[in-house]
Symmetry: C2
Subunit: 193 residues, 2 copies
Amino acid sequence: MIILGVDPGLTRCGVGVIEAGAPRRLSFIHVDVVRSDPHMSQDLRLLTIYNGIAAKLDEFIPDTVSIERVFAQENRNTVLGTAQAAGVAMLAAAQRGIPVALHTPTESKLAITGNGKAQKVQMERMVARLLNLNAPPTPADAADALAIAICHALRPAGALEGGEREQHLTKAQRQWAQAAQHASRRGGVRRGM
Amino acid sequence: MIILGVDPGLTRCGVGVIEAGAPRRLSFIHVDVVRSDPHMSQDLRLLTIYNGIAAKLDEFIPDTVSIERVFAQENRNTVLGTAQAAGVAMLAAAQRGIPVALHTPTESKLAITGNGKAQKVQMERMVARLLNLNAPPTPADAADALAIAICHALRPAGALEGGEREQHLTKAQRQWAQAAQHASRRGGVRRGM
């Protein structure tokens, strides 16, 4: 199963591609950062990001696109641009009939390190180790894109958004469900919103 | 000059088309609301909105697309979906080489009624009057889409975003520049962000 991860951004949008085989058996395929010039108008920047992601989808033909979820509460100046970059990535996938999964940074940390509050350096080390890379990928957006792809591959079996079917879960599944529930309460963009 | 206005939204996205001829001479061409099913996943909803707007662009071939600006501070649950709907509208225009203008609700009220804090009913009445309609268009998203198109047509000559060249402005131009400056300070999505 080929998974293409997207760390959305208008200036730098990370794209990471992995193959997920037997349980916890992952291979690195590709990583890149799609960029748009901050001096261009918003519409042309979105077109640049969209074209860059569409080209990656056509090159690697992933089975799933895994995108980092954006939250309205992240009250930075860039949050709407980030949401729009995630939006055109979703659009490019939907136009090709590729399913989209959204995962929060907490879910990603939990799936990769077992700790939902893991430090950045710990995450980067684990991404490198899981993909058999000699060093963590740079820049940060590239590592984050691979992390969000790995997150989708390693999410606990039966992990569900919104805390459905919370009985009979393993500890990891329970933590995951809690993280997803927390994400829902924060009002982020989620499937079916 | 054909102007297509967009009142962005994920559930209901208003689209209004007008023709702007001699100064303040406007004609109504078309109004519609593109809808997506709240039960669908986010990526398919964005695809539905994108396809709906793309079809309108191909039908009416506007010279400019005028879109209501979205602000991060509007901390509703829907703000990111609204920003993403605006994003795919911008993308559809950019793919066709059609220039995009973003206008705030305050700019729209100022251009149409002369009062940046005009009530909704006053705006709807003026939209109907300016377009020679017997009654205000419904639903509200349709009226808002026409308003944002009219706003672009009636914006004061020399109106500039970000308060550039504030000397030598008429009173209307000054109010406009102030509204644009206020919008910049609020950190909304703006051209060149």
